[in-house]
Amino acid sequence: MSIRERLSGNEAVATAMKQINPDVVAAFPITPSTEIPQYFSTFVANGAVDTEFVAVESEHSAMSACIGAQAAGSRAMTATSANGLSLMWEMIYIASSLRLPMVMNLVNRAVSGPLNIHNDHSDAMGVRDAGWIMLFSENNQEAYDNNLMAHRIAEHKDVMLPVMICQDGFITSHSIENIELEEDEIVKEFVGEYHPEHYLLNKKEPIAIGPLDLQSYLFEHKAQQGEAMKNAKKVIAEVAEDFEKMTGRKYSFFEEYKLDDAEIAIVCMNSTAGTTKFVVDELRAKGVKAGLLKIRMFRPFPTEEIAKALSHLKAVAVLDKSDSLNGAGGALFEDVVSSMYVAGNNVPMVNYIYGIGGRDTKSDDIESVYNDLSQIAQTGKVDNPYRYLGLRKGDAK
């Protein structure tokens, strides 16, 4: 039986970590993810877990400690945000290239500067090519559930890649919402034990990891990572299926909300999907055929599936909570547009950069996007595909 609770997103993640009971947690506090290691350290102090908690002196060390722990043969977890992730940067790539299936919670926040501690996705977008599986969570429930599924995905022999679970800083990390928790024993059984095939502390098999990998080999090793990322799709789907059997909660690569018969749709990630669902319901009541595609699995990117799901629409808006500052469009927009183009789907598409630095994105803002989409759907024309939502501008239209 599931347990009804009310928890913040950070509490939900810490609770999942308690139930997973990893061998090692190494973390350094940074807003808004600080509470995760904070709550978790109380579990350690109270003896609720038998995790070795490493209170490191920086995020670079946090990731390094997780790499060492995972290479040694144990299960490691960490959590961070924004500049903490920036400081991990070097080791992020080491973790994925050494194929160490650790799990990190990234509580999304704007990467400075100028200094800002509030939510956007610039931290996650910065590491989108780092070879980590990236799952996004609309709310505390999804953050909790993604954690429960993460180790099985990461540790699968065909995958062996680290997993990053994202949720929106403050918006979900610090908001208390209802949640269904699973019982400790059930989680323990679902997550299972970690038995790596090769690990440093195996005295029967002395190994070396992370050797010099020059011109003759790095290319192939990177391609292996890419192959593992492709394999991850199948594993993520399988684990979600098992998870649904256990909890009744269904997870796909993305959620299609009233998308089947929709004519216009928004593509977005994390908490904005909640606001968008509210707007979709309102518009539906007025007879507007609005829909939503909420991406859960951002890496690997479900290109064929997204192209298929959006193929019947008359206009699509992709919302990016991070500006790539490339004069062309946000990262999610580019991925979705590429998916559509390669699949031969010619649907008018428009990009909105929104919510930067924690700027509130209200239902009115989302509604204005759908209004724009209705116009685009009528004319079939997109004047400016790279737009800002909620930006103050002197000559605003």
Binding site: R99, I207, D213, S216, E220, H221, Q224
Partner: protein
């Protein structure tokens, strides 16, 4: 461990280049980027034992009789330290990869 080289397909390489075997440094040939080459002049060598002690790699083989033999160029990077310490002029540095 399987032998790997620049022709090995990606499927046969271990993930992350991990090496699941200890004591394999000998298999890693480190001498392929030499631009200076030491030449051993056996007649001049007094087997004093100075050269192999300063070789940073494994390029000067020493037999059970404690005597050195000719260079093993698989591991020689041509640094010239051996030639520098030789008191008898028994090692000459020549330009190029090979002697």
């Amino acid at each position: 461990m399987t032998e790997i080289n620049s022709k090995t397909p990606m499927e046969d390489l271990t993930i992350g280049g991990n090496i699941y075997q200890a004591g394999n440094a000998r298999e890693f040939k480190t001498g392929d980027w030499r631009s200076m080459c030491p030449v051993f002049i056996e007649e001049k060598c007094k087997q004093c034992g100075m050269c192999f002690a300063v070789c940073p790699d494994d390029a000067i083989p020493v037999g059970k009789d404690q005597n050195r033999t000719d260079f093993n160029y698989d591991y020689c990077k041509g640094c010239g330290v051996c030639a520098k310490v030789c008191p008898f002029g028994a090692i000459e540095m020549k330009e190029g990869t090979n002697k």
